[in-house]
């Protein structure tokens, strides 16, 4: 089964930590939606052998689109691809967009999973992150979402400058209290050319020490697991049965097709991305041209190292899957490394799987760069 990602490149404004591609010019929406339809149709004949069981709206801010627009996109997709009956259709939403009966609208359009950009349940933190909702709004939205679409995830950003353990613990326990089924908890990162990085350069804010950041990470991982959320990827925690089916496509090296400007695709060992510029994207599609760039077919070695890297960041290396794909034994190839990592508590091993522990996840880059 494969996945479809749809990039909605609009935001009302830029958050201080964000370096994703989007535009605030929502006048381009109609033009964009037309281009999106053309792109879907152009792709329709390309992969007749693929069946898709996830559709994921990301951005940008997909919740800026009305339910009708979402419904239209889903219907064009259904008309042009093999879409499985029980498809997970998820959408990223900002709390401030989910007013009135927007949630019901989205549900009617076919959305069956909501990922809400809550980021924090503390007002001062929301202010710091230049978000435009309050903690009360967030609580209200999450409650209503859970009533309508039970499969609700929230995003949390932690390791804000001088954040205290009790702060992050509060947001987590609030999420649990409200009944969310899934939490994506990301460390605040200082990306180039963001307002945040500028503030840091100007000395207005001070980044946390690696030690403090590590302790916050441990607080997040420990508290969520105590509350019954399983860490199934470095930053992702879910109650039983509520893992993001779509995100797992990325981590399990499954096929996924990206639609919309700057989206990424991986199908049949090839990777590519769409052009980042919305104008160029629409222009190319008007000429019935796919807005593809950086098309690259991975070698077997690259596939293998991507497979290991992604698996170790998520649910672990499945031994059967590995030998089926690469025709050799993961256990034999990495015997000493595996034994040492298990011995030192960085990883665990079962009959059929090798997986990092929470302690291992925390230094996953080091482990992968050093041993795999």
């Amino acid at each position: 089964m494969s996945g479809i990602y749809i990039h909605i490149p609009f935001c009302k404004r830029r958050c201080n930590y964000c370096d994703f591609f989007f535009t605030t010019n929502t006048k381009l929406t109609d033009d964009f939606l037309r281009s999106l339809s053309i792109e879907i149709k152009l792709h329709s004949a390309t992969f007749p052998e693929l069946t898709f069981d996830t559709i994921s709206f990301g951005g940008g801010t997909p919740s800026l689109l009305g339910g009708e627009n979402i419904a239209n996109i889903i219907s064009v997709i259904r008309n042009n691809f093999n879409i499985s009956e029980d498809t997970e259709i998820s959408l990223e939403a900002n709390p401030e967009d989910l007013t009135g009966n927007k949630i019901e609208e989205l549900q009617r359009s076919g959305i069956n999973r909501l990922s809400i950009g809550v980021q924090s349940f503390i007002d001062s933190e929301l202010k710091f992150l230049t978000r435009h909702h309050t903690s009360l709004q967030a609580e209200d939205v999450v409650k209503r979402a859970l009533d309508t679409i039970s499969n609700v995830s929230i995003d949390i950003i932690y390791s804000l400058p001088s954040q205290r353990f009790e702060d992050i613990a509060y947001s987590i326990s609030k999420a649990n209290e409200l009944g969310v089924k899934h939490v994506s908890a990301y460390t605040l990162t200082f990306e180039d050319k963001t307002l945040l990085t500028k503030q840091e350069t100007e000395g207005k804010i001070i980044r946390n020490t690696p030690e403090h950041e590590a302790t916050l990470y441990e607080t997040v991982a420990c508290n969520l697991s105590t509350l019954g959320f399983r860490q199934y990827e470095i930053s992702n925690f879910a109650k039983q049965g509520f893992e993001s089916r779509h995100n797992k496509k990325y981590w399990e090296l499954k096929n996924y097709l990206g639609i919309g400007p700057s989206s990424h695709s991986f199908i049949h060992s090839k990777r590519w991305n769409n052009v980042k510029n919305l104008g160029l994207y629409s222009e190319m599609l008007k000429k019935d041209e796919l807005p593809v760039e950086n098309l690259y077919e991975l070698t077997n070695e690259e596939l293998k190292s991507d497979f290991i890297m992604l698996a170790l960041r998520a649910g672990g290396v499945c031994f059967d899957e590995y030998s089926r794909r690469f025709d050799n034994s993961f256990l034999l190839t990495y015997k000493t490394v595996i034994d040492n990592l298990v011995r030192d508590g960085f990883a665990g091993k079962s009959q059929d799987n090798f997986c990092l522990t929470s302690k291992g996840y925390a230094i996953a880059d080091e482990i992968i760069a050093r041993y795999f």
Partner: protein, 598 residues
């Protein structure tokens, strides 16, 4: 027409005092080279030399000078290396001359090195022509420098030529002084051949090209010749003089300077200072002054990645073709694998070799902390030479250790005497005497353990004297010292490449500083790392690097794996440059930790 008179001379000057520019000017005036063909400072033809602005290898060049009276003279300018590491080579090129131009920068004055080379020249009986250069500069201190030179040489004020090589002031006066003051070379052609080797270089097409000064007799093509000290015999295939290139002359007569090609494959067969004679006219006495050149400073050189070992071996062999003073032999280090223990004349020589390996041969190398050679008297009566700290016997087996001492001259403005005394004290210096060079500057005479000056002494000297002090040294003797081997352990494993030999009084402080420096340089690992300094089994210092707790980028952006992949590849590249000791990864800079201790 009678043979023209020959003048053999060299230029003595401190780095940057204008030796090469003056040489250029002389070449131009004698039409040895046309102005338009001049690349700046033609004598320094290695890239590295031009960049560092110092002459590393000596060369010789012949000029024909026509005096205002229309008389022709042959001038042989023998260039000398400008650094203390090469003082033996300097002494041999001085021995090939009858006179020297003493060039002093009008803005800088006399420096330690100028003095030591000047004394060498006077010892060799050379006639000295003092020249004050750069007199056209705004900050020229002609009067002070004149006073210094008079003090130094006991000459008259009017003997000193005021010049600016750059602005072509005084060049004619210098040329005339060479004719009038420097004694003509003796031309005893009827005696058996005795020629001095003062340099050699390797030519890939012709083998070794030997630079010689013929003192007696003559050498011509086809002569069967023998080298006095090395005992090697050859046939002279080609002889000639040196202009802008080699010019065959079939014969070199007594008094002249030239080159010899004799099918010699290895520069080590042609030792600087050796005497050449004819097999059929054996001589009983060599020319005076021959010495075996000895390495003073040693360091391990290892390829950064083990598969480059053969490359490194080949590169060293090629370097050695042109650098007889470089020694190397294979060694292995637990930490660094296979490499070479290399011997150098001094720190500059070492830096040059390292830089040439990296630049000219494209190698990435790790060099261990330089050290000197110790004489170890063992309890069983055996005496061994140790040039690698990790080869030092166990303390119980050592009766005592001797280390090399040098005699050093520091010339400094008198206001820095206090600072420099303090520096000398820190470096276990023995103060001997002070002499005033002029009213404001003194010549301090010390003895130091060589090990105390091999690293960062020169930088310290400069910073303690705001750049004004200059320094020169020569090997003195071996003396007994209370020395200990200080080992570094990482998680209990001793890292041989980080072992050093230090004076016992300094060992605790040294160990402490080394541990804390290493703590800075070694990145966090997956495990806690204990850094310990030990003398024998006694731990004298300890630092701990706590375990890395977080190293992960949180997100794979919407399926954008390539971004993540690139980051990881970068990390992997970084790891390749690390050396693995047990389970600890050490960056290459750590092996230089000692060098940056202060």
């Amino acid at each position: 027409m009678s043979k023209p008179d020959i003048r053999n001379f060299c230029i003595i000057a401190h780095i940057d005092h204008g030796k090469s520019t003056l040489a250029d000017r002389l070449l131009e005036k004698t039409r040895t080279i046309e102005k338009r063909n001049m690349i700046k400072q033609v004598l320094d033809d290695m890239d590295l030399e031009q960049e560092r602005g110092i002459t590393i290898k000596l060369h010789a060049i012949q000029m024909i000078y026509t005096s205002p009276e229309k008389k022709e003279y042959i001038f042989n300018l023998i260039d000398t290396p400008g650094h203390v590491d090469f003082s033996y080579e300097v002494s041999r090129s001085l021995a090939a001359c009858e006179g020297a131009l003493l060039v002093v920068d009008a803005t800088q004055g006399v420096e330690a090195q100028t003095i030591s080379n000047l004394y060498l020249a006077i010892d060799n009986g050379l006639e000295i022509i003092p020249v004050i250069n750069k007199i056209d500069l705004q900050n020229a201190m002609v009067d002070e420098v004149t006073e210094q030179i008079i003090e130094l040489l006991g000459c008259k004020k009017e003997d000193i030529i005021l010049a600016s090589a750059k602005a072509d002031i005084g060049t004619e006066l210098i040329l005339e002084a060479i004719v009038n003051k420097i004694p003509p070379a003796k031309t005893e052609t009827d005696k058996p051949l005795r020629a001095l080797i003062f340099d050699s270089k390797f030519d890939i097409y012709r083998g070794v090209v030997v630079y010689i000064r013929v003192f007696e007799g003559s050498i011509k093509e086809g002569d069967a010749i023998k080298f006095f000290f090395s005992g090697n015999t050859f046939t002279a295939e080609e002889v000639g003089v040196l202009r802008m290139g080699r010019i065959k002359s079939h014969i070199i007569n007594a008094g002249d300077v030239g080159y010899l090609i004799a099918g010699i494959k290895d520069v080590n067969d042609t030792r600087v200072g050796d005497t050449i004679f004819k097999i059929n006219q054996p001589v009983s006495e060599p020319l005076p002054g021959y010495k075996e050149v000895k390495s003073m400073v040693f360091s391990g050189i290892y390829p950064s990645s083990t598969e480059d070992f053969e490359n490194l071996r080949e590169s060293l062999a090629k370097l050695k073709l042109n650098d007889a003073a470089l020694t190397y032999e294979p060694e292995t280090s637990v930490a660094l694998g296979f490499g070479f223990r290399c011997g150098f004349l001094g720190m500059l020589h070492m830096e040059i070799v390292q830089e040439r390996l990296e630049r000219e041969y494209g190698l990435t190398i790790i060099t261990t902390v330089p050290n000197v050679e110790y004489r170890v008297y063992k309890t069983n009566g055996e005496v061994i030479l140790v040039d690698n700290p990790s080869h030092m016997p166990e303390p119980a087996k050592i009766d005592y250790i001797e280390e090399p001492y040098i005699s050093a001259n520091i010339i400094t403005p008198n206001e820095f005497i206090g600072n420099l005394m303090k520096l000398a004290n820190e470096r276990r210096g023995v103060f001997l005497s002070t002499n005033y060079v002029d009213a404001k500057r003194v010549d301090l005479h010390f003895e130091f353990p060589l090990s105390e000056i091999v690293f960062d002494f020169y930088d310290k000297l400069k910073s303690y004297s705001r750049g004004y002090a200059s320094f020169d040294y020569a090997f003195k003797d071996f003396r007994e010292s209370d020395l200990v081997k200080l080992d570094i352990l990482l998680n209990g494993d001793s890292v041989d490449a980080l072992s050093t030999i230090v004076h016992r009084d300094k060992s605790f402080d040294w160990g402490k500083r080394l541990c804390s420096k290493l703590k800075e340089l070694i990145p966090k690992q997956m495990f806690e790392v204990a850094i310990q300094a030990a003398i024998g089994s006694k731990i004298v210092a300890r630092e701990t690097i706590s375990a890395m707790r977080k190293n992960v980028t949180a997100k794979c952006y919407g399926g954008d794996i390539s971004r993540k992949r690139k980051l990881l590849e970068k990390q992997k590249e970084g790891k390749k440059r690390m050396k693995q000791i047990g389970s600890v990864e050490i960056p290459q800079e750590a092996f230089h930790a000692v060098l940056s201790l202060n």
